[in-house]
Symmetry: C2
Subunit: 243 residues, 2 copies
């Protein structure tokens, strides 16, 4: 068996998330469907970052094992043609036999895009959350600083029975890039809805509805009710995966 | 009669152009339809820049006359709610009695966005032309320099019986902005398909298929067949209108 790696990106707007889920359109279903057509058999895949419904990926990585003949350059072109234009297949390459997109990934970086000007930009409405109220970036950075380090993020994650909510966040920073406000957060991995919960909390700090200094206590509470809901999915992009 | 000005923007991807045209969906039809609902009568409008099918506007301006009572702030919100999210109404304001979005406009600026990296970005596919070949920006700027000044642009315009193709171009520059290649061109006005013809010619110069030094002769030929077709509409954005 040879392990193959697929580098791809997608506009998540038209999908009910990355992961296959009966009865709904998922990125995984579209890609595995195309792979099955090319290979003539079902080809199970694993993924670096399971994005939620409506969340995008600039960079996503999946891997699969296959023992038949594959021309990676040709498979790249064929898959790309079958799954586009919402999904872009950048490259299919042969990887080492131990490679797993899921378990070999050592870090994930997400970005979240906000426009806090009075009117939204219709061309970017698919991946920018419009918040028509000028946000205080200093307060948002003060809030975000509390995320850095190893914490139990139970307050900021959708609970999953029996799964740890302890995560190691390497960096979490808000910056103004051109006319957008961008949150860049890197961690070894994230639990469910964690980035969108962080964004909602920071935006409330930026609006003055939450004092940034209370964020450590919100985290320490390990109680989902202590937080501030979740930001909408369409502003979130899986930006990079490290191996 | 009071003259009102509407500042708006739109994603042109779902419209067959700005101008009303029987049997197809146009930006003008959607806006005039909403205005007619609000005013209880047909309200003819004029526009600063008639964009083609699939072309976007970050900034567009229209004007209309009306003698009934209008609360501009309320009309802004109502119209915006009726025409969104592809069209964004930024402001409705009372203008001077001589104001015309078409005839008072003294300059129009367009931008054209190109991504010349190997793979397209699926999130920006609606407003960026993907050219999978690294382009020579210096050659493109050499080509673009020939557009500046007053010329008969018959080689670069779709012919319209009895209408002049002489235009005054103030500036025409290509620049790399983050990972995109951006053409910014300003003129008092443009004739039909002029910017997209300019872009096609510059891209062929950037690919080395046309020598940038031949552009003055292509313009001087005043012959549409001397040029290089048109770039696709979706990369083009009406960026600004001066009054």
């Amino acid at each position: 068996m040879t392990v193959y790696r697929i580098d791809l990106g997608y506009d998540g707007g038209g999908f009910r998330g990355y992961a296959r889920n009966a009865g709904v359109r998922s990125v995984q279903e579209v890609i595995e469907g195309a792979l099955a057509m090319m290979c003539g058999a079902d080809v199970p895949t694993v993924v670096a970052g399971r994005t939620d419904a409506g969340v995008h990926a600039r960079t996503q990585v999946i891997s699969f094992e296959w023992d038949g003949p594959i021309d990676p350059a040709r498979l790249t072109r064929s898959l790309d043609g079958m799954v586009g234009p919402e999904i872009v297949i950048r490259a299919v390459t042969a990887a080492s036999s131990e490679f797993s997109a899921r378990f070999s990934a050592t870090g994930r970086t997400y970005k979240y895009f906000i426009d806090d000007s009075p009117s939204p930009d219709p061309l970017r409405r698919g991946w920018v959350w419009h918040v028509p109220e000028v946000l205080d970036v200093d307060a948002m950075n003060l809030a975000a600083a509390a995320f850095v380090g190893e914490h139990d993020f139970a307050s900021l994650c959708r609970a999953a029975e029996g799964r740890s909510t302890i995560r190691l966040v390497g960096s979490a920073v808000w910056s103004r890039e051109a006319d957008l406000l961008v949150f860049t957060v890197a961690a070894t991995s994230f639990c469910h809805q964690m980035v969108r919960s962080m964004v909602a909390l920071c935006v409330d700090a930026g609006r003055g509805r939450v004092a940034a200094g209370t964020v450590p206590a919100i985290i320490a509470a390990r109680d989902r009710n202590a937080a501030r809901g979740v930001a909408p999915p369409h502003g979130l992009v899986l930006w990079d995966v490290e191996f």
